[in-house]
Amino acid sequence: MVRLYTEDLSIGYGERLIVKELSVQIPDQQITTIIGPNGCGKSTLLKAITRIISHQSGSVVLDGKSVTKENTKQLAKKMAILPQTPESAVGLTVGELVSYGRFPYQTGFGRLTTKDYEVIDWALQVTGTHEFKYFPVDALSGGQRQRVWIAMALAQETEIIFLDEPTTYLDMAHQLEVLELLQKLNKEEKRTIVMVLHDLNQAARFADNIIALKDGQIVKAGSCEKVITKKVLQDVFQIDAEIGMDPRTNKPMCITYNLLKGE
């Protein structure tokens, strides 16, 4: 029995639906990536699952309860979301920003407890940002900054973490750095990770489970081997892809591709 799933989920306004009657299960303690062309509803789906935007019909269920009915603070203890490229948080120090991950646990004036400080320190350690604790966030590089935001999500101590394109604007080494951190969290801490990625090969390399979306509907969902195929990539991206095997990870990978002509 999976903890998190959607049922006939439709998102959009009036007649214009961005996501249509989508039913999908998010496997526990695995890495799930959502892929698809621009405007296919990847981010929209992620936001609806994390109750950042409301949906029109259907439901998102976590632990047997609809997320729209659950107390939002309680939900924030179960799932964290890192939106696409959050603003740079001018002036806040790394320690201050990460401490806001404890927000769902605080009341009143929000004094931090010893337990809070422990979690914050742990989050800084595990993301390798402890040395920047007293630095302003905007003094860091893009990769460091992204790790700080991930640290904030970690400080939320949730079993499920959502990330919307966590590697955008990062160079290759920093992209890997972020993805390997997430993989480590999944392996060592058993966190369920759901993220939107643009790079197919990264998606295949790091995910246990891939959801391929097009026009707000699932084209294929399942293991990398099932999703990263010539047929699926043709349907989703209109590309003619050559699929091979990554010699280091034994995962499927897209070696080369061309645009499909004549459509």
Partner: protein, 332 residues
């Protein structure tokens, strides 16, 4: 945490400066008084002409300066936080002009209204002004662009000032209206303060309680929701707080632009961008700035008074330009 210790030191220093400035403001003015007189006026039961002047005229006036400075600074800080707009200020976003127009209308229609009635009229006017600016500013898709909000604020303010003027001329009460709106701190009395102070205190207290909500809201709305904030509810409460603070300020001193703009920027340079520090520091810095301006206003051209609003504006305009030039980040 290290930074919180440093904050409490900064806060204590600020508080000491505020206290010292209050004594200075009490001591200088048209009537010659000594520090001894000030001390006796504040902390003894002694009576003399000078002590009475201090107690009945200067004391409420400086308390008014503290209250208004703090209220405007905090409302400016909140506005800058929720709109993520570094140019937000109650004067620039239609609250002051709305309260002004409401004041003129009230004086015209119900000339016998008591001070509480006028204060409430100011709250309503401030709310209407702000709602007009925000609805015009967010009409087009993309909403809340700093530039569009400032433009809408300028247009709505001009419109509302015109209404206030028009009402003043039509009902032949221009003089009464301008007595209120340009009066500054002259004639501030305990009767007024007794009505205003509770509103301002409640507003500031709520702002302090919601300061950490304001920080995550100022980062990114999606982050705020993800952290479990009921953003709609928080924004509504903060909006009411802004109305209370800005409305109360207009009821007491009339137009006073730029304090709400300047103070939060100065404060950010000192304590960073966490509203848990910005809000309490803004209370102190706003009060100090207002005391300085009022003391200057009373002393640079004795025996005449220079309007505080003019002094604040002279300090504020270059500051405003600096913020615009630096793209919203002063003192970085």
């Amino acid at each position: 945490m290290k930074s919180s210790i440093r904050f409490s030191i900064k806060f204590m220093i600020g508080l000491s400066i505020l206290f010292a400035m209050f004594i200075v403001a009490m001591g200088f003015g048209a009537a010659e008084t000594s520090i001894q007189d000030v001390w006796n006026a504040l902390f003894s039961n002694l009576k003399s002409d000078k002590i009475n002047i201090l107690r009945e005229i200067r004391f409420p006036r400086e308390v008014g300066a503290v209250v208004v400075g703090a209220a405007l600074a905090v409302s400016g800080a909140i506005m800058q936080g929720i709109t993520r707009n570094p140019l937000a200020d109650p004067g620039l976003l239609g609250l002051t002009s709305g309260a002004n127009a409401a004041l003129a209308v009230t004086l015209a229609i119900l000339p016998a209204t008591n001070y509480l009635g006028i204060t409430i009229a100011c709250f309503i006017g401030a709310a209407i002004g702000a709602i007009m600016v925000f609805s015009i500013g967010t009409l087009k898709k993309g909403g809340f662009s700093p530039l569009r909000i400032v433009l809408a604020g300028a247009a709505v303010s001009a419109f509302l000032y015109a209404i206030a003027e028009g009402v003043g001329i039509y009902f032949k009460i221009s003089k009464d209206v301008s007595m209120w709106t340009a009066g500054g701190l002259i004639g501030t009395n305990w009767l007024q303060l007794n009505i205003i102070i509770p509103f301002v205190c409640v507003g500031i207290l709520v702002a302090l309680l919601l300061s950490r909500h304001l920080t995550i809201l100022s980062l990114n709305e999606e982050v705020a929701v993800g952290l479990g904030q009921k953003t709609g509810q928080v924004k509504t409460i903060l909006f009411i707080v802004i109305i209370l603070l800005a409305g109360a300020s207009v009821a007491l001193v009339g137009n006073m632009a730029f304090i709400g703009l300047m103070v939060p920027h100065i404060v950010r340079a000192i304590v960073g961008t966490d509203y848990r520090a910005i809000i309490p520091m803004s209370v102190i810095a706003g009060a100090i700035l207002m005391l300085v301006a009022d003391t200057l206003g009373r002393t640079i051209n004795i025996p005449y008074e220079t309007p505080v609003a003019a002094i604040i504006a002279i300090m504020g305009l270059p500051f405003f330009l600096l913020v615009v030039r630096k793209g919203g980040v002063a003192f970085q």
